[in-house]
């Protein structure tokens, strides 16, 4: 499947093993950004611990001229800067690969491999000789190894220097130190190694019209553009940077030039119960409001999500999913909150979900989340995940249409109310089963009593069975009506396909790459990535059109598959799972292996799946 390690230009993966809290992130990000600016398709995955300082952390960079940038599973070059994990790291280098290490100290012979080339650079010694401050010595070691990588991988050195100038434009001393450190590593490599290595970079032009952005920043920008004025949140990994970014954007774009006052408010709540409560209160009062959280936060919000659902109050919840249950693994990725969000809260509840697959879609779908929440007067969840949210992705530039008008839903104004004989909250529903609401303070006739207790269609308290059922039955119809408004799935048909493959969110790139790899082997499948719940007709049709489908997702319990079987007409036995849920971003190899194992086919390129049938047994990784 892989090309020989010689003659590989713009097609390889490297992994950098570091200690967290030592400043490696800026060096790794620098490399990633430089490669991006060289016009080469690239991804960077930060595999980090839930810790401030001292634990192992890794960063993986994959470049691929064809645009396959899902996580790689084996590495052409390991940058082994963490002695704690060295024994583990050396095993992940592919045969014939390279390992870069700090040769200030001798390597343990027991840890050598004779099928790997070792590149030793005395980073610590070089930095100790060149920098006086002890903290600086540690920090600059990272920039020094970046310099070595620039040399051995043929990164455009002028471009890296320019990036350092940009980054430290106002900090001369730091800028000079960075340049010196870069040069230390670069020159040492040029003097001691054959540069570049057989796998290396050459400038391309694949990134015109692309940007490098993480999903949380894109989500924050989407909320800004959607016109959100109230954000309430409680800090939680991996969603904190949504609010950090939102705050930054608001400071830049929402300070009124005339008054100097803020056209937004951000409240750091005492917990997630309060955060969602504030969002509900603000939305009830007519502001576009959102919260950003992760699975544990959704667990706490369950109570009030039911209130918003039943009292029909808009709310936008960004869930940057991490690994559960409980505290789980806060810095690892999954799509593990699908079921939790779909049916959040006690009693009969169903919610609208959106599943962006990359940062570009985070920006695109965030305004849709607000539009849906206000159109349907209900909570809307946008489920991203840690991989989308916290890693930098190369995606098409964000686009915006200045003709966009927010969908505020059925809200009666003073003029409407003036003309009405009497306003009754849950009557006169439209074709989507949505009744008009009013906002406090608009008109004396608009007053009503919002309650989470049993109510009839007039908004009055009730314990009468028929009156209760009339309201909750309409809520179900309203939820179904939302199917026509959620984003369409992304479908790639291949013709002559033998089965379908369904996925969601951050699995996108890995699954699409896997289907290309499978097609090369004659295993041809159609692709569908769902982007919204309730599922629409296109999803139903895809399920109908295929004899069977694989559902690829990152959780143990096949949550998307469960939701599909519960909420579409598909027969349960037509859906088969490939589940990868250890917490790292998905790789195409996981998917290929999962599907081939499940099909029970020999792992050879010649194999034909003509007449492939639904496998009998579940084979869940």
């Amino acid at each position: 499947m892989q090309q020989p390690i010689s003659d590989r230009v713009n097609d390889f993966a490297i992994k950098l093993a570091n200690v967290n809290g030592t400043g490696s992130a800026s060096a790794n990000g620098l490399l990633m950004q430089a490669i991006f600016r060289m016009g080469i398709p690239v991804s960077g995955k930060n595999l980090f611990p839930s810790n401030i300082q001292g634990l192992p952390t890794w960063y993986e960079i994959r470049v691929n001229k064809s645009g396959y940038t899902a996580r790689a599973l084996d590495y052409d070059l390991m940058v082994a800067m963490n002695s704690q994990t060295y024994a583990r790291d050396i095993h992940e280098v592919r045969q014939g690969g390279y390992l870069l290490y700090d040769s200030s100290w001798p390597l343990d012979n027991a840890l050598l491999r004779d099928d790997v080339t070792f590149l030793g650079v005395p980073f610590a010694r070089l930095c100790n000789e060149n920098f006086r401050d002890s903290r600086e010595r540690i920090l600059m070691k990272n920039i020094a190894y970046a310099g070595t990588l620039v040399a051995v991988l043929n990164v455009d050195v002028d471009l890296v220097a320019a990036l350092l100038d940009e980054k430290y434009s106002s900090k001369k001393a730091l800028r000079d130190s960075n340049h010196r450190a870069l040069r230390l590593g670069y020159d040492y490599a040029k003097d001691h190694f054959h540069c570049p290595l057989p796998f290396h970079l050459e400038t391309m032009d694949a990134n015109a019209g692309k940007i490098l952005i993480d999903g949380n920043t894109a989500t924050a920008l989407g909320c800004l553009y959607a016109g959100a004025t109230v954000a309430a949140w409680y800090p939680i990994t991996p969603s904190t940077s949504v609010l950090d970014a939102f705050k930054g954007f608001c400071e830049k774009y929402r300070r009124d030039p005339e008054t100097g006052k803020n056209n937004y408010i951000i409240i750091q709540a005492e917990d997630e119960l309060a955060a969602i409560g504030m969002v509900i209160g603000a939305s009830w009062n007519g502001a576009r409001a959102f919260t950003s959280t992760a699975g544990p936060g959704i667990s706490l919000m369950n109570e009030l999500l039911g209130l918003a659902y039943y009292a029909e109050i808009p709310a936008v919840i960004i869930d940057v999913q991490r690994v559960g249950p409980s505290t789980g693994m806060p810095t690892r990725t999954q799509q593990g909150d699908v079921m939790e969000c779909a049916y959040a809260s006690h009693g009969d509840t169903k919610h609208i979900l959106l599943f962006p697959g990359n940062p570009h879609e985070c920006f695109e779908l965030a305004p849709q989340a607000f539009d849906l929440a206000e159109r349907f007067q209900t909570p809307v969840f946008m489920l991203t995940d840690l991989d989308i949210g916290m890693n930098d992705w190369v995606v098409p530039r964000l686009t915006w249409d200045d003709a966009y008008k927010p969908e505020r839903g059925r809200v009666l104004g003073a003029d409407d109310l003036e003309k009405m004989a009497k306003f009754q909250r849950y009557t006169n529903e439209d074709e989507n089963f949505v009744a008009a609401r009013t906002l406090p303070g608009v008109h004396p006739k608009g007053s009503f009593f919002t309650r989470g207790s049993g109510h009839n269609k007039l908004g009055g308290y009730t314990e009468t069975p028929d009156e209760y059922q009339e309201v909750v039955d309409r809520l179900l119809k309203k939820h179904k009506a939302a199917a026509k408004f959620v984003p369409e799935p992304v479908i790639h048909g291949r013709g002559d396909s033998q089965f379908g493959v369904i996925t969601l969110g951050g699995c996108d790139l890995a699954v699409r790459e896997a289907l290309d790899l499978l097609a090369e082997r004659g295993v041809v499948a159609d692709f569908m990535r769902v982007r919204g719940f309730p599922f629409n007709q296109t999803v139903e049709d895809f399920l109908q059109e295929h004899d069977f489908c694989f559902v690829i997702e990152q959780n143990r319990d096949a949550q998307l598959r469960s939701l599909l079987t519960l909420e579409t007409a598909v027969a349960k036995d037509k859906l088969k799972s490939v589940l990868v849920y250890g917490g790292f971003p998905l790789s195409a190899l996981h998917v290929v292996d999962g599907i081939l194992n499940s099909l029970g086919t020999p792992d050879t390129p010649e194999f034909s799946t003509a007449g492939a049938s639904m496998p009998q047994s579940q084979n869940e990784e």
């Binding site: 004025t229 005492e270 409560g277 502001a287 927010p406 406090p440 004396p444 608009g446 989470g452």
Partner: protein, 351 residues
Amino acid sequence: MPSITKPIATHPSLRRNELGMTIRDYEGAMSTLCAGCGHDSITAAIVRALWEISAKPHMIAKLSGIGCSSKTPAYFVSGAHGFNSAHGRMPPIATGANAANRELIYIGISGDGDSLSIGLGHMCHAIRRNVRCVYVIENNGVYGLTKGQFSASADVGSKSKRGEPNRMSPIDPVMLGLSIGATFVARGFSGDKEQLVPIMKAAVAHRGFAIIDVISPCVTFNDHAGSTKSYLYTRQHELKATETDFVPPASEILAHIGTNGAVSVTMHDGSVVRFKGVPKDYDPTNRRNVIAYLEEHQGKGEVVTGMLYLDETVPDLHEMNKTADTALSKLPFEKLCPGVAELDKLQKEFR
């Protein structure tokens, strides 16, 4: 408010406020609480206060949690917007509502279960944020709807209806509020509407979060001998620390009142809280002094009531956050969305 059905017709002699409305216009649905419930008297005080200050009903948002107390927003100002939310969660909902629209009057109604147990944290943080909101705790020391369990405000030694004494120390919202920076602290007794009405009016005028702890005996589960939240006990032990007048901002009224009060505090909106009677060693603007006074008298088993502490110098939620002077919910979209040109410019940073 009414606990009996009243005729719809209003008597022509009923007095009208500045909006031309009678007090009947500030009433709500008929109460379904037990006859004699202290909460209904509090409701009556709220009705009177809002009528007297001529609050526009549709500009009032009345919010509550869950419990007997939280039912009461239905019983006052039927023309206001009501929000009966979830147990203990009213403070965040009121905070969010206030964040979106600072132009309304917020009346939060809560109970001792709501505020001192399940929602204690929320109340504390609403105090810290100084959300502009009247926050009434209808405090009866007992869970009514679930039939008489002790609440967190039950005093040590207070006996339940079945005779069991409470042994855990109570949470006192007044002392708690003072300890975490509350800017308006009062305690009333549901049996004393005359004291409560000016406190309510001052609370509406207050710059931030106004806690009014009202001892409100539960006639069904906590009005027996041995209870420290009964009508009899409260009447026997009440110590009115202060007597207050609330003087609206209009100056001609000020002239009539005169200046014989012990202490006057000018509120943020120009109105004045005039302390007619305070003990000579009492300063309602000095937190340490108030705490010392309360500790001394509560130590003697006295239930100290009145407008206890007032600080108009602390900025509210919006002032702390420098938010726009008008409601955020009313800002036009054009002011909120930077548009495509800015997006193009911004994206140069993502290269």
